[in-house]
Chain length 169, copies 2
């Protein structure tokens, strides 16, 4: 990873791209979580290239595994091991155990999270394995999730494998 990377600028852009995915998913009636996988690249005028972007597809594709982060990885396609090890994953919400496991599988060294108030994923596990975690506490990420959870609590609970009020959703 470039030592000259201005992370303040790259992180702001990376989270905005993830937010665009989350907003699009919300507009489609889906769960508003988005993610992008970026590769820092000093040759590029933006300082990075987008390897893949995606959003939660539970409702759109009836998918139980295409969380935002998995969608971004899937849309990035097959990448070399070394590419993942130089990449940064941006996600609007704290990554669940599945998405955290994908981060560990591909040894993605840095994960930038929009917010972890509406859901706290496996940040401790990631940190314990050496992943650099940044939480930006972005208000729009939190507002989008708060609105979705209020509107469609069953879908949200299904997405995280949880019951609601002690009853299955």
């Amino acid at each position: 990873m470039s030592s000259n990377t201005d992370w303040n600028i790259v992180d702001r852009t990376g989270l905005e791209l993830a937010l665009q995915q989350a907003r699009r998913s919300y507009q489609e009636g889906g769960i508003p979580i988005g993610s992008v996988l970026l590769l820092p690249d000093r040759e590029s005028s933006t300082g990075f290239v987008v390897l893949g972007a995606g959003h939660n597809e539970r409702m759109q594709k009836k998918s139980p595994t295409l969380h935002g982060e998995i969608s971004a990885l899937e849309n990035a396609g097959r990448q070399k091991a070394e590419t993942y090890r130089s990449s940064v994953l941006y996600t609007t919400l704290s990554p669940c155990s599945m998405c955290s496991g994908a981060i560990l599988l591909y040894k993605i060294p840095r994960v930038v999270i929009g917010e972890n108030d509406t859901f706290l994923g496996e940040e401790d596990l990631l940190r314990s394995r050496g992943v650099d975690i940044v939480v930006l506490k972005n208000q729009e990420c939190k507002d989008l999730m708060t609105r979705f959870i209020a509107e469609k609590p069953e879908e949200w609970n299904e997405d995280i494998g949880e019951f609601r009020d002690g009853k299955p959703c």
Copy 2:
């Protein structure tokens, strides 16, 4: 989960179904790892119903996220939280961190593994979270993987995010 379930019989059948998926993937030129998600069901003559089955799709669908276990979950479609919590996942190979994370996300209580000699996944993490892990040490599972790794080492290393001989694949 039924207390009357004869696990010896169900496990033999579950692993055989996973192996069928692994064999099919090998025949397609893909990575020979298969998985099935079963739900014990005393009403059924077999003692279970198959919720979903799948195999690794890295080569067939150019997918970095459709490992055997993720494919089985994806093919099972959207399920209720309570369904996952009564299910059993069969997989021909020890689950990597991504697939182990999916098991934790959906709180699948029992995982039956064909073999863990060619690759040891996150079995310790799963056990530490209370997942019941059974390793059957199946010779055909091991033989299939051993043959594939010898034939296509680059593809295998890519699937587990690893380099070969210290060099990226």
